[in-house]
Symmetry: C2
Subunit: 509 residues, 2 copies
């Protein structure tokens, strides 16, 4: 299968249907497909070959949709950059992925001057303003280029490389194939809970995320109109839902929280919403109640997964949400995969017993880019080892209890504690540091740092915050600090994060 299948179906079945709505710009399937085939031709003229990566650093827009289709159209792979990364982090991922062509919008065009490196050949400006420097104009490329035919590249070919933080603190490029993404899309569609056939689908969560791509692909298979807002903003989201009669939306709990807290909530009619899908973390009981009251026409579905799983592993259906004891669950195995909880020997743990969550199916990634050893550590005999700890109940509901690999989820973004710890360690006054996730009313979790300073040296929380912000994305910078004389260590010398979390809860850390 190939991700562009859905575009050919749309062209064959509903060429005059709306494909994308962005601000006041509305494009039909036919117009959008023509632009895709032209941009594909332009990329080829720029020297992009099958298997190459084309990166994008931009807020959501209708051009993101065109990019998602045009790059695989010529057999290349997308590399959507997390816009929240710091400049050194972005530069690192562009370099390590041999990216030659980068698309930027108006918001990120000014960053390009800092993103130069030898390998980067071409910058394409997809904003509405004038290109900066040597950047080429997207619209001029489109006008100057003839459409090219689809190569229909698919199957096990790489469709996307998505960088995620790694346990070692070094980001890893997750390679997803066409089959990974299409299988995951068909699986969630088979559930019937995620996307309405021929509905109107809201992109308010970032399209650069694996969730954004997966949701986009699933919408395409079901012939959806994509209603796209540049980034999450309560008024923009509520306005888009009401104005375009949006039927389906993907959000993270932090966004849902901001919607229900918004004073404008009552000003908009959101009665067309049928499916509200949320991911990245469970939803609190109180937020769920408020959200159901705010969007009474919508069925709530939770998706649990990870980038390496394209991303869906389990689904908690709308009717599951009616059972109070299931609201802490992540759901049951999605139609396209198998989940297990295994003990340290690799055997299946019985219901109720905690172990590592592992997943097998057509959605398991091809591997980490240029990191065969890292891949072999997590994909064993076809099973993706998530690094998350959890248990299954006797009806197959998965409960995630801990993240073995010390990941913090803040506002829907994954932060690996090692990335934060590496940044802190670079400060001359820091002897040792540990980062943990602590509960936060707005972001679900926030990054909390426990720091040991070197003897006779000093550094304030503010100073350390500024130091980190130059190295890592803002959302990774600790929101709070504690200073201590020594970190609790295991016999093997490993920092005992669980103790740090307990210290925090008891107010002593």
């Amino acid at each position: 299968m190939y991700v562009t299948q859905a575009l050919h179906q749309a062209l064959q079945q509903e060429p005059d249907r709306i494909a994308t709505i962005f601000r006041d710009r509305v494009r039909t399937v036919r117009e959008s497909a023509d632009r895709v085939a032209r941009f594909a031709g332009a990329l080829r003229s720029l020297g992009v070959a099958p298997g190459d990566l084309v990166a994008i650093l931009a807020l959501n827009s209708d051009r993101y949709h065109e990019y998602f289709y045009a790059v695989p159209w010529i057999g290349a792979a997308v590399h959507p950059v997390n816009i929240r990364l710091s400049v050194p982090e972005i530069l690192d991922t562009l370099r390590r992925s041999d990216t030659r062509v980068l698309l930027v919008d108006d918001t990120f065009a000014p960053l390009v001057a800092e993103l130069q490196f030898d390998g980067l050949r071409t910058v394409v400006h997809i904003g509405d303003g004038d290109p900066l420097g040597d950047a080429l104009s997207y619209e001029e490329l489109l006008s100057a280029t003839d459409p090219v035919p689809d190569t229909r590249t698919g199957g096990d070919s790489v469709l996307a490389v998505l960088f995620t933080g790694g346990t070692t603190g070094v980001p890893r490029g997750v390679m997803l194939s066409h089959d990974n993404v299409v299988v995951s899309a068909l699986g969630v569609l088979a559930s019937g809970h995620v996307v309405s056939p021929h509905g109107r689908l809201l992109h308010a969560a970032p399209m650069f995320h694996v969730g954004g791509i997966a949701y986009w692909a699933a919408g395409n298979v079901h012939g959806a109109e994509h209603v796209i807002v540049p980034m999450f903003d309560p008024a923009a989201v509520l306005g888009a839902i009401a104005r375009h009669a949006v039927t389906d939306a993907l959000l993270v709990p932090t966004m849902i929280q901001r919607l229900v807290d918004s004073p404008e909530l009552g000003d908009y009619d959101c009665g067309t919403l049928r499916h509200l899908v949320y991911g990245a973390s469970p939803i609190s009981e109180s937020l769920l109640q408020r959200a159901r009251a705010a969007f009474p026409s919508a069925g709530f579905t939770q998706v649990y997964g990870m980038t390496e799983l394209a991303p869906t592993a389990t689904l908690l259906s709308p009717s599951d949400h009616d059972e109070p004891e299931l609201r802490r669950a992540a759901g049951r195995a999605a139609p396209h995969c198998e989940i297990r909880v295994v003990d340290p020997t690799g055997g299946a743990a019985p219901p109720g017993e905690i172990g590592e969550i592992v997943v097998r199916g057509g959605n398991v990634m091809l591997g980490y880019l240029h990191q065969r050893d890292e891949t072999a550590k997590v994909v064993k005999d076809g099973w993706m080892h998530t690094g998350d700890a959890g248990y299954l109940d006797d009806r197959g509901y998965l409960f995630v209890v801990d993240r073995i690999k010390d990941m913090i989820i803040t506002g829907g973004e994954n932060v690996y504690s090692a990335e934060v710890e590496n940044a802190l360690a670079k400060h001359p006054a820091v002897a040792a540091a540990a980062a943990i996730g602590v509960p936060d009313p707005e972001w679900g979790e926030r990054v909390h740092a426990v720091v040991v300073l070197k003897p006779d040296m000093s550094a304030s929380a503010d100073e350390l915050r500024t130091h980190c912000a130059a190295l890592i994305a803002n959302y990774k910078v600790p929101g709070s600090f504690a200073f201590t004389d020594a970190l609790p260590l295991s016999a093997a010398g490993k920092v005992l994060k669980r103790e740090l979390r307990e210290d925090y809860r008891s107010g002593s850390g």
Copy 2:
């Protein structure tokens, strides 16, 4: 992906749910899975290795379900034999596929004596009566063997080899992978029209058909209970629907015809039926009206496809059936594939223009067993060339107008005219013969033979019928004959079937 995924999901989620109902025998998921794992162990003990084929020659039963799971459980592939084939035809497919182990039920056990050949090592008797000759008892094997773990073989590995007639008259073994079958299942499930989640699914159409396997696999993904009747019979089907509150059924139009014609129709409550899926041919206007009246709670969905497509290419949804002009259509591309109509140069034909129907997607077969050249003739650049002629309308609805490869569909079975012609040609009195499909009120089409006898020789229709019945399956034997002095030939010497069909229509052939 692997076909056994769904069994693991069922075990994890609903071990005490009913898996199969056959006559008075009801088995839960847990019982059924235990039997699967034991039979898999038995097959391994019998020397079945990964990649080997295990054949079955049987009517539908719960053991067919266990067979479908147990064989891939150890990495082997199923070879369900069409029970309507003649003994020489069956022997040919068993030989050509190197089948070493054959399962037979009570009905077909007596045939085994005629099916001996050097390669066949073991016959397993899955009936309820006593095994004949050297056949092993299925139930005794199960009791004597411990369960073995699933190898979780999948992806591009061969799941099934299904023999279909070939244009040359030689049956071809279609190799379908796990991904082919699971992708096709996810695609039809994504449509929402075929199988109810956690429904009760009726197997009355033969399970040996690709439709039977695909329907079984789709039902498994949706956690269905399989209600199985040995073979189609109006009273048995109506009784099963009423007794087990069946929600979903797969039938061919001939079967639907027999149900609505049945005097017992009014005696049974069929109000639980939600999805009635039919395939193999479109449904006539009058039959559709009667069927909708008979089963008012059911949505009717047509599936068009072929064995090589695992099998679904297009779906005509229940609401499509509301548009009179669409009732002659085969539907639109299913979610998992792309369809096109191409002209002889391979270019896409514009809407309304007739060309060959070609299909691309995750459901396109691996190829024909041991027939690389034949495979290359039909699968070109990923596109399966169906050999059917049709056109697309401007909404992407496919209309099948002719079968390029001279296939006759009678009672849901495909008959290649070459197979019939080869059999006729073996009669000493036959100089030339052509087989065509002609309309038949009961079977949709029936095989009609136009025969040229050798000078001074004679043979009656009855004599030729008896001659054919010894060589080919009963449903392939011509139901009617016409004798003529010469067949109409093209300049290239090809028989002009179209002229023969017109002669028949006008009453002169």
